[in-house]
Symmetry: C2
Subunit: 354 residues, 2 copies
């Protein structure tokens, strides 16, 4: 059976402001010194496993040009432009319907576009195992990450018995509070939900039909219209009518036959500016410094320069990000508050800076 | 007797980088919200006491244009451009010689160009008292500031008996170590040396002739050439030949008949970026914020914005100064290290940023 991949790249990620903007969110940025953007890395690490002609990018229509620029080898018809943001369930249904028109069932690897993987060999090995598991029965497979601390920002997967390297999923749980996260960690029975899914189109369709019949009907219509002159009209009509729904809540928390494969390939969701020092090499003072920077008595700082010189003097545990029209100086304890800055800018009508 | 004033404005102050540059040092900057530069304020507060035509500015020739721009009411011939930097003693001798050509003795108030005064009424009252004291005998008068903490960055004046509101100076002492500064503070017999001096030209000439005869001779030649076609040649020849010497070390530590008048007018030498929050109003979070700034959970910060938006998130006790080509982010504990940045820039050949 054909193996295809769907990369979800519609996010507007605000946590990397001011480098990320509505016009160029995180997946289209390079946050590593090699200059590759997150989405370029995501595609590149799939190449050993999936033909480039079978990699699909689902993105907001506003980002179609960015995808074409950054991924010129992806066939243009594989760039699926959502006319509206409706979370992951409609996104996946749309992609499944389109791919199904071409292959009449296939394995579908669904991936976020903005995560980092340290060991690409272990990553492809894990995905290969997941593809094998997904080919059996109507299995839905998810890649779980072994938690290393009680993170409250991720969903968790509760697993039990092993069958051929895959573990039965008992349930998907939403982001826990700290106490619950600590229990999960101690139990040894929980993995982080990485948002990577592997299934046959026929398997996910069975579940979409069962749990989200309205979205199923709409997706089928979109699939049928693909490569016809009506496609755009049908897409806009059907897709914008979808309710916003995550695949986790819409399917995974309800479906049966779910398996998880623990990934030990080194995963980082690059969730905030704090990630930058984790995913890059730091200097002898534990600083990550990129650009035209002079530092003096500065430690554990992340400094991403722009066109101007930045002099950092006596700075500790601080993130400094410079761009042409906006500068962020943020304590490492407050990286989640960057969203508040964006909210304030919205209130002030400064959309030009968002 | 005529009262004249000499404002010393040749400093190249590096401590307000990146706002201050070699091409525009601190005295030509506004560090207060009223937009007036330090030198403009210095001249303005003299107006009740000295005719504008009797105010002289001694500056480096490189800053003559800046002085003319910022002080258009000062007669151009009162702008005395030093062809080289030689510290305060040659500067004062030069000005004394020039003024003496015009008035054949006069009282001369010598002032730094980059200090701030809170209460201008008390300031002029104090200077008036100093002028009166200076008119008697060959008194040399200095304004002392009552110390409020054991500052190690200032020279001190040891005073004793009072005569008509002026106190006899026992000695001038150089910047002390902390232990010594604490002793000075406890003794109640020491004042900070503010660098403001008041004397008759004849009095200071007596002392210059006695303690620095070479400079005396040179200054007389410069004075005689003033307003003649030879002036520039004589100035360059004589002035560049002067050794570099401070008036404190060259005269005040050696002379007799020195009196000090304690100034209680609120004095700030605006010695580093730390001064900005002292001399301006701060907001409810104790921040001084000027420019296009958004702050969140930010306290005790000084933020001077440039053209771009600055977002400060979770920042404490930090100074952020933005300019077109350079940005400073500096802990309040490290404001003295700004000089190190300038040294590093020099080493890197980045004179364009200094």
């Amino acid at each position: 059976m054909k193996t295809t991949a769907v990369i979800m790249a519609g996010g507007r990620g605000e946590r990397f402001w001011p480098k990320s903007r509505n016009s160029r969110p995180k997946q289209f940025l390079s946050l590593t010194s090699d200059g590759e953007t997150m989405i370029q890395k995501t595609v590149k690490r799939l190449i050993p496993l999936v033909d480039i002609s079978d990699i699909y990018i689902v993105t907001n229509s506003a980002y179609k040009t960015l995808v074409k620029e950054q991924l010129p080898d992806i066939p243009e018809e594989n760039i699926l432009a959502e006319p509206a943001a409706r979370n992951t369930a409609p996104c996946i249904a749309f992609a499944a319907a389109v791919i199904n028109q071409k292959y009449n069932d296939a394995v579908m690897i669904v991936l976020p576009s903005d995560h980092l993987i340290s060991n690409e060999k272990l990553y492809t090995d894990t995905l290969r195992k997941a593809v094998y598991t997904a080919e059996q029965e109507e299995n839905l497979v998810t890649i779980g990450i072994t938690p290393t601390y009680p993170e409250t920002g991720y969903g968790y997967i509760n697993f039990s018995e092993e069958y051929n390297g895959a573990y039965t999923v008992e349930k998907f749980v939403e982001k826990p509070d700290l106490q619950t996260a600590e229990k999960y960690l101690d139990s040894g029975k929980y993995l982080w939900n990485s948002g990577m899914f592997i299934w046959k189109i026929s398997s996910i369709f069975t579940n979409i039909k069962k749990f989200m019949p309205d979205i199923y009907e709409g997706a089928l219509k979109i699939g049928k219209a693909f490569n016809t002159p009506d496609f755009n009209d049908v897409l806009i009509r059907e897709f914008t009518a979808f309710r916003s729904e995550s695949i986790d809540f819409g399917i995974m928390e309800k479906a049966k036959n779910i398996y998880t494969i623990p990934g030990s390939f080194g995963w980082d969701d690059v969730g905030s500016w704090l990630a930058v020092e984790r995913i890059n090499e730091t200097d002898e003072n534990n600083n990550y410094i990129d650009g035209n920077i002079i530092s003096e008595d500065t430690h554990h700082a992340t400094i991403c320069g722009g066109k101007r010189l930045i002099a950092a003097v006596g700075i500790k545990d601080t993130i400094i990000v410079d761009t042409d029209d906006a500068l962020l100086v943020c304590s490492k304890n407050n990286t989640q508050d960057v969203k508040k800055i964006i909210a304030l800018l919205k209130n002030q009508g400064r959309e030009d800076l968002i």
